[in-house]
């Protein structure tokens, strides 16, 4: 049925909110999200979206993505290690089967693995409820098997959703979604059963939207991230904010861009009052200390006015 609004959250202006204080008195929670992805050479067709811009096999685009797993991701790990930043991995979980070396390197670094679907060439568009639930359970089982971790977060594969996705995530015990871009703080999401929150991911300072779709230079990208950080850091004194840096190894892991990542991380981690953490830890802290307070504050606004 057609809807004019996703119906997933209430209006809640960025004014006079409860004050979030992150662990250690920090005012900004920083998390970094490498998207470690597997794009299939010959994926099955989806009725809503073609997997590749060119006829299959799209050798150029396939090989370019594969560069991320052979070369780019290792450069990212080295740079992130140097700045003491753990990744929260947006993972196409079939990669656990294809490239266990990469998963082992993530687990060894105590990086979090969260879901980005099975493959980045398998979209949720068009799935019925049973199919989507089967996909979610496959993801949970695969991450558990290869890392021992309980799945906590979800960024839909290639950001493709159905009307059921958010409800199913809550039913299956997922704790946070990254597919909603309506805010700079964690917020409760409206679900019929269970609890779910949205965490700020980013399409504004994502290397895919900035470097590729936005055609920015690496130096411009560094300036954008610094500006994003500086403002959220200042505002975090009033109520704690979240800065997410979403990355793709096939983009930021290229030799001509990797030092841009080092500059960004040096700037962010060079400030006091920054909690360098993972998405799961941010969600845990929010649930434990702020979920109820935020839910009550949001309820005051129901109906559109305080």
């Amino acid at each position: 049925m057609a809807k004019t609004d996703p119906g997933l959250y209430d209006y809640f202006p960025y004014l006079d909110r409860p004050k979030i204080v992150w662990p250690g008195g920090a005012r900004l929670a920083f998390w970094c999200a490498p998207n470690i992805e597997f794009y299939e050479l010959t994926p099955p067709p989806n009725p809503e979206r073609a997997a590749w811009p060119r006829p299959v096999p799209d050798v150029l685009n396939y090989a370019w993505r594969d560069y991320g797993n052979r070369a780019g991701v290792w450069r990212m790990m080295e740079t992130m290690d140097r700045h003491g930043v753990r990744g929260s991995v947006s993972l196409n979980v079939a990669l656990c089967d294809h490239f266990p070396d990469i998963i082992a390197a993530c687990v060894e670094r105590q990086w979090e693995l969260f879901s980005h679907g099975i493959y980045n060439t398998r979209y949720t568009y068009g799935m019925d409820e049973d199919q989507e639930r089967a996909m979610i359970r496959d993801v949970k089982a695969t991450i558990k098997k290869h890392s021992g971790q309980d799945l906590a977060g979800w960024l839909a594969p290639a950001l493709t959703n159905t009307d059921n996705t958010i409800r199913l995530l809550a039913e299956e015990g997922v704790r946070y979604t990254l597919d909603l871009f309506h805010d700079d703080q964690p917020l409760p999401v409206r679900v019929p059963r269970g609890r779910l929150i949205s965490l700020p991911y980013s399409l504004e300072i994502n290397d895919f939207t900035v470097l590729h779709q936005g055609t920015a230079t690496p130096r411009q990208y560094v300036e954008m991230v610094r500006a994003q950080f500086d403002r959220l850091y200042a505002e975090g004194a009033r109520s704690g904010t979240v800065l997410c840096l979403p990355l793709h190894p096939f983009l930021i892991g290229q030799p001509h861009r990797i030092d841009a990542l080092g500059e960004m991380l040096a700037h962010i981690t060079g400030h006091a009052g920054v909690w360098v953490t993972t998405a799961r830890e941010i969600a845990d802290h929010f649930y434990a200390h702020y979920y109820d307070e935020f839910a009550a504050a949001i309820a005051v606004w129901r109906g559109g006015a305080r």
Binding site: P47, R54, V59, L60, R70, D97, Q254, P255, H256
Partner: protein
């Protein structure tokens, strides 16, 4: 709505790749590569001399730089032709002045139209790389194999005859291949292809007729991506390619030889306002010790000798 059941089955979900052309490999844990003279970075400069026919159809897609306007598209035809008349000689001069060599990708129809351009490559001792028949004759999925075999043979036969070289390198027009391309070019004596940009070192590829290699031709640092697609200006191109070199040079000190691929088209890089940026890149690279200017065939030979 429901998707067909096979949308949730994954026949290639297994260790390694989802095809059998090459295995997975971590660039940073391989046996270090040694270049001749102990060089840290092999510099592989690859200008592409491309023929864009006025009547190209854009099927199944238009190669970047193709005829995108109403017919006759003098705008695009002549801008591309400029590269082969004017721009190429700026590129050649920049290389000559610095004692650098190149592997030059050539459309076979361009070689037929202007054999003089092939002579300019061979008289310098540079390498001719096959770049298909022309930019309107793409290799692509769904293409009948006999049609594609005809394109491969026409390109290689023509370029070998005109250049007198064995012509063992291949760059597909628009980097586009079918499932058969590797087998077809391998069967005709091609030793390396430039369309597979998944690495910074040569990667062995399995073909029906035996092993060939993918050489790491640049995509993200090509003029096609940075200038045509991303609209970066020439100085940004130069900065990013210099950064690309600097990181490889740094890595080479730790983990073995690297390859800097400089992928340029005279119709982009050979125009007056960009050529100086290209020269700046060459000056930056040649200022460093431990840089080896080589053709693709020479790089492959050195790589294979270590296996």
């Amino acid at each position: 709505m429901t998707l067909p059941a096979d949308y949730l089955t994954y026949p290639y979900r297994r260790p390694g790749m989802d095809h059998d052309r090459y295995p997975f490999s971590n660039l940073f844990t391989r046996k270090p590569v040694q270049w001749p003279g102990g060089a840290r970075v092999a510099v592989w400069i690859m200008p592409a001399l491309e023929f864009f026919p006025l009547d190209m159809t854009g099927k199944p897609f238009m190669a970047p730089g193709g005829m995108g306007r109403g017919s006759p598209d003098y705008w695009n035809y002549t801008l591309r032709d400029y590269g082969n008349r004017v721009g190429v000689f700026r590129i050649c001069r920049a290389l000559d002045e610095r004692g650098l060599k190149a592997s030059v990708a050539v459309s076979s129809r361009l070689a037929e139209r202007h054999p003089f351009l092939v002579d300019e490559v061979t008289r310098r001792g540079w390498e001719v790389v096959a770049h298909g028949v022309d930019m309107g004759r793409l290799h692509h999925g769904g293409q009948p194999i006999e049609e594609e075999r005809g394109l491969v043979r026409e390109a290689l036969t023509t370029l070998r005859k005109i250049s007198g070289q064995p012509v063992t390198g291949w760059l597909s027009p628009a980097y586009s291949e079918s499932m058969n391309t590797l087998d077809l070019v391998g069967a005709e004596g091609v030793q390396y292809v430039c369309d597979w940009v998944m690495d910074d070192l040569p990667v062995p590829l399995r073909t029906a007729g035996g092993e060939i290699h993918a050489l790491p031709h640049a995509w993200e640092t090509s003029d096609l991506q940075l200038i045509l697609n991303y609209r970066h200006d020439a100085s940004e191109f130069a900065k990013q390619v210099c950064d690309y070199f600097d990181v490889l040079y740094r890595e080479a000190a730790q983990v073995g030889g690297r390859i800097l691929a400089l992928s340029v088209r005279p119709w982009l890089m050979g125009v007056p306002h960009r050529i100086q940026a290209f020269e700046r890149v060459l000056d930056h690279v040649t200022r460093h010790a431990g840089v080896w200017s080589a053709t693709g065939a020479e790089i492959l030979e050195a790589f294979r000798a270590q296996k």
